[in-house]
């Protein structure tokens, strides 16, 4: 089960339609864009894995501050190097598609924001998150004072059991009340 030829088989296509939130058009477009990233010899191999650097050349991911985290989260590689197969790529697009449920989106958003992969968002994760959002250079960051105020505000709003971290259910709860999330957590090719 992989993409050997440049065409997707019909049953494979319908299987992907069933297992993801993507429409037939979107799957075909994703296949086209994925095969464009392959080199000549890779095109003939089944189940090729594209390294992260090449994935990050896609325009949809190039300007995204979370691009590396996204690749890591959706990658199923053993070496944890963020490389994606075509099916990982489809999973990525499915989670970011228009028709994905809020649960799926918030689940993957949590994993993307969890920079140290420990299952909760603590102060370090939140600080890295804010720095990703505002910019990389020093003059585009918040001052430590402002950062502290911001993180304490966030925890005040989302940490229900008051343990100093945001776990998945608290995150999903706060996302369900966040009106912008569904429209902003979207990538369409």
């Amino acid at each position: 089960m992989g993409t050997t030829a440049s065409q997707l088989g019909k049953d494979l296509l319908s299987e992907y339609q069933e297992l993801t939130f993507l429409t037939k058009q979107e799957i075909l477009l994703a296949h086209k864009r994925f095969t464009e990233l392959l080199t000549k010899d890779e095109k003939d191999l089944p189940n090729t894995r594209i390294p992260m650097e090449r994935i990050l050349t896609l325009p949809e991911l190039k300007s995204n501050p979370f691009r590396k985290r996204i690749c890591h989260v959706f990658s199923t590689s053993e070496q944890k190097d963020g490389s994606l197969t075509f099916e990982d790529f489809l999973d990525l697009l499915s989670a970011f598609s228009d028709s994905a449920t809020l649960e799926i989106k918030s689940h993957y958003a949590f994993r993307i924001f969890d920079f140290d992969d420990d299952g909760t968002l603590d102060c370090g994760d939140l600080e890295k998150l804010v720095n990703c959002l505002t910019g990389e250079t020093d003059d585009t960051r918040l001052t430590p004072e402002e950062m502290r105020q911001l993180i304490s505000n966030i925890l005040e709003e989302s940490d229900i059991d008051k343990d100093g971290t945001v776990n998945l259910s608290e995150f999903q709860h706060v996302i369900s009340r966040s009106p912008d999330f569904v429209s902003s957590f979207k990538i369409v090719l």
Partner: protein
């Protein structure tokens, strides 16, 4: 079979699965399974599927297969794609489900397969419908370049195009179509008779003799002359009834009902579209309209593909965060104000509000004067030159546009002195601008009405001034038509003659003025107010000018491309962005206000003002509303009784009382829910504290028992010491290996 224990760790110190801890309901949110390469060997033979909705317990490579577990009986089967797993895992689930399905009875199999088929069908239909959407590619491009805030403006514009198209189709099919097909469908149309009285004299407005070309232009722009006696205006619809072979079509009734229908349809569609947004906004019970969590977790638009846009988005997020943090500090400062300062602030606010009211009154008066002057100039029909004639025609529009240009500047200057918090300042200025824009149309209509009902000898013979306004509805329709055309001309002119030179000056000009003026910002509130203003005119004007929705559809169609061009070439996005969610709330809220304001003049003119006797479908009735009682009285006894009962006071009062009771019940329910939510929150915090306390006690007990029984190492469940990688704030409590014997099932102690 290993003896399970809490916090069981293997030699290398990695947490492995632990059934006792797994049994904690909060397990999945507390413990993240590390991706361990040895997890394959740790896979249990006893499967322990977790039908969690989020499946977060499976972040690691290890998976629990669901063989043998009969948990599916407990929860419904969710569609596989809603589970957060990798593709390989989903495939395995699917094959497993198919196997399980084969074990089911054939009835269930059939049910499930039809369920799957229907879902597939629904997806296909939705896909097909969404591919029909207008401007999909353009909007996708804008989204990629500018983010979701500006996108919401363009999707709002698309919504208005569709709305106007539907309104036009409604009016066309019920009012114009019967007249047009009457000759072809062997229908016999009876016209309103000219009964020869004074009121029904309608001088023709067609120009006679040699018509100069520019007079055609004047006619086209003002709706007079050759345009007056066309389908465009109310006055042309003189048909009373159309007798088709089988039925009789009552045109006045259809006209009235179509008007009510389009207002109602607009209301329903807007409310439906905003329902989701309203619900979300009303659920938030904080006084902050935009919470920090929303800004941080949903702050980045993942659809941005442009590097510049990403940079802009970053800087605008930074600006927004800084402003919000500062606003918190300002709020603190406001709360600390002394009484003397408060009095001073309130006095200043009072004076400034009076000033604002004065400015508004001045604007309204000037609109009134301009309308009266314009009407008199048109009626006198002086042979002015072409330009002056046009200016007289368009005088009210010009004054309204000027007022709407100056007042926002005045308001934004005033608000600085009123010392509100920044977010409130923006909102308040916006409210004032909205008020100004929408009431200026009302003032125009009021001044028209006063002209129409003012006669030389009171009271008016026909109920209106039949000498000057033999067909006053057409007049009003012409004014609305002029407003629409002028609005469109202004938008095009501003884009071409103001924004484009500004861009050139800023780009190529070296002087300080260019730098200070800066590039044009695409301010969403102002643009939205512009199109809501246009839409309000359309709603009011459709009754008098049934083809106005078609004109508005075409107008908004062109405005889309003009604004898109302007955005790409001339403007940069605003520094303080409008969020998509609050945008939708704002847009549809303002649109609803516009609709409410539009219903008012239409209602008044339908119910109160005598319709003109010389033209239009309602010649045989005193007011337009009179069609309804006449039709009702022609129905059968039963229907009449029913309708009379429905419109009686008893019914209205009891309906009102019932609605009030329902509202009070819902409000009380909401209050009760809020209280329960607060209690549950407190309970959760308390539970967290309880758990920490208990775990501390466990550790203490642990340490004591480890000290007392060092032989425990020889037992099969011994494990090496390792730190607990249990990431919560109590991880600091556990420096030693924590390791607790699994109590026998009937023991009184339980974790």
């Amino acid at each position: 079979m290993e003896v399970d224990s809490v916090f069981y760790t293997d030699r290398s110190g990695r947490i492995t699965s632990n059934p006792l801890l797994d049994q904690l309901p909060s397990y999945q949110s507390l413990l993240y399974r590390r991706k361990s390469s040895t997890s394959g060997t740790k896979r249990r033979s006893s499967s322990r599927g977790r039908l969690s909705s989020s499946g977060s317990g499976k972040w690691g490579l290890s998976t629990f297969s669901r063989r043998g577990e009969k948990q599916k009986g407990q929860t419904e089967q969710r569609p596989i794609r809603e589970l957060a797993k990798t593709m390989a895992e989903k495939r395995r689930d699917k094959t497993q489900r198919l196997e399980e399905d084969r074990e089911l009875s054939s009835w269930r199999q059939w049910k499930q397969s039809t369920g799957r088929y229907l879902r597939r069908l629904k997806d296909d239909v939705q896909e097909w419908l969404s591919s029909l959407q207008l401007w999909r590619g353009d909007i996708h491009l804008i989204e990629g370049m500018f983010g979701t805030g500006i996108l919401s403006y363009f999707s709002f514009l698309r919504f208005l195009v569709m709305l106007n198209l539907i309104i036009f189709l409604l009016m066309f099919s019920f009012v114009m179509l019967p007249i047009i097909i009457a000759p072809y469908a062997s229908g016999n149309a009876t016209y309103n008779q000219n009964d020869g009285s004074e009121c029904s004299v309608y001088p023709s407005s067609a120009r006679r003799g040699l018509v100069i070309f520019h007079e055609h232009i004047t006619d086209l722009l003002s709706g007079g002359g050759f345009l007056e006696q066309t389908y465009l205006f109310y006055g042309y619809y003189k048909v009373d009834k159309i007798h088709f072979p089988k039925i009789t079509y009552n045109l006045p009734l259809a006209y009235l009902l179509a008007t009510i229908a389009y207002l109602f349809l607009s209301l329903i569609w807007i409310v439906k579209r905003s329902a989701a947004g309203f619900k979300r906004n009303l659920i938030q019970d904080e006084d902050r309209f935009q919470s920090f969590c929303n800004k941080i977790f949903a702050g980045w638009d993942f659809c941005i593909t442009n590097e510049n846009a990403a940079k802009l988005k970053r800087s605008s997020l930074l600006y927004e965060l800084r402003t919000d943090l500062e606003e918190e500090r300002i709020k603190q400062k406001i709360a600390d104000r002394t009484r003397k300062e408060k009095c001073r602030i309130y006095l200043i606010r009072l004076i400034l509000n009076l000033f604002v009211i004065g400015v508004l009154a001045g604007c309204f008066y000037s609109i009134y004067v301009a309308t009266i002057f314009s009407q008199e100039a048109q009626l006198n029909d002086l042979k002015e030159n072409f330009i002056m004639a046009l200016i007289y025609e368009y005088l009210p529009s010009i004054v309204i546009t000027l007022a709407n240009f100056i007042t926002p500047l005045v308001f934004s200057v005033i608000i600085n002195f009123e010392d509100y918090s920044p977010a409130f300042e923006i909102r308040f200025t916006l409210i004032r601008c909205v008020f100004m824009r929408l009431t200026s149309i009302g003032v125009l209509l009021f001044s028209l009405w006063s002209q129409i009902t003012k006669c030389e000898e009171e009271p008016c013979k026909c109920g209106y001034n039949h000498v000057l306004y033999s067909c006053w509805e057409t007049r009003v329709g012409q004014e609305m038509y002029k407003l629409t055309i002028f609005d469109f001309i202004i938008i095009v002119a501003v884009t071409i003659f103001v924004e484009f030179p500004r861009k050139l000056i800023v780009k190529y000009g070296e002087c300080g003025l260019a730098k200070w003026w800066g590039q044009q910002e695409f301010g969403i509130p102002q643009n939205v107010l512009e199109i809501v203003y246009g839409q309000t005119i359309c709603w009011i004007g459709t009754f008098y000018c049934p083809m106005l929705p078609a004109i508005c559809t075409i107008k908004y169609f062109f405005i889309f491309y003009i604004k898109k061009l302007s955005l790409m070439k001339n403007c940069r996005p605003a520094t303080r962005p409008f969020r998509a969610s609050s945008s939708n709330f704002f847009f549809l809220g303002v649109l609803l206000i516009g609709l409410a304001l539009a219903c008012l003049p239409v209602t008044v003119s339908v119910a109160q003002i005598n319709c003109s006797q010389a033209c239009g479908p309602f010649v045989n009735y005193t007011t337009s509303w009179m069609v309804m009682p006449t039709v009702v009285s022609q129905q059968s006894e039963k229907v009449q009784k029913l309708l009379v009962a429905l419109s009686s006071e008893a019914f209205a009062v009891s309906f009102f009382v019932f609605t009030c009771l329902a509202m009070f019940y819902v409000i009380a329910l909401a209050g009760a829910h809020k209280r329960v939510i607060n209690q549950l929150r407190e309970q959760l915090a308390m539970e967290g504290r309880d758990k920490r306390f208990l775990i501390q006690k466990l550790c203490q007990a642990q340490r004591l028992s480890a000290v007392k029984s060092p032989v425990s190492k020889s037992q099969p469940r011994s494990s090496s010491r390792s730190s607990l990688s249990y990431h919560t704030s109590f991880s600091s409590n556990f420096n030693d290996a924590v390791f607790l014997a699994h109590p026998p099932p009937d023991s009184s102690t339980h974790v």
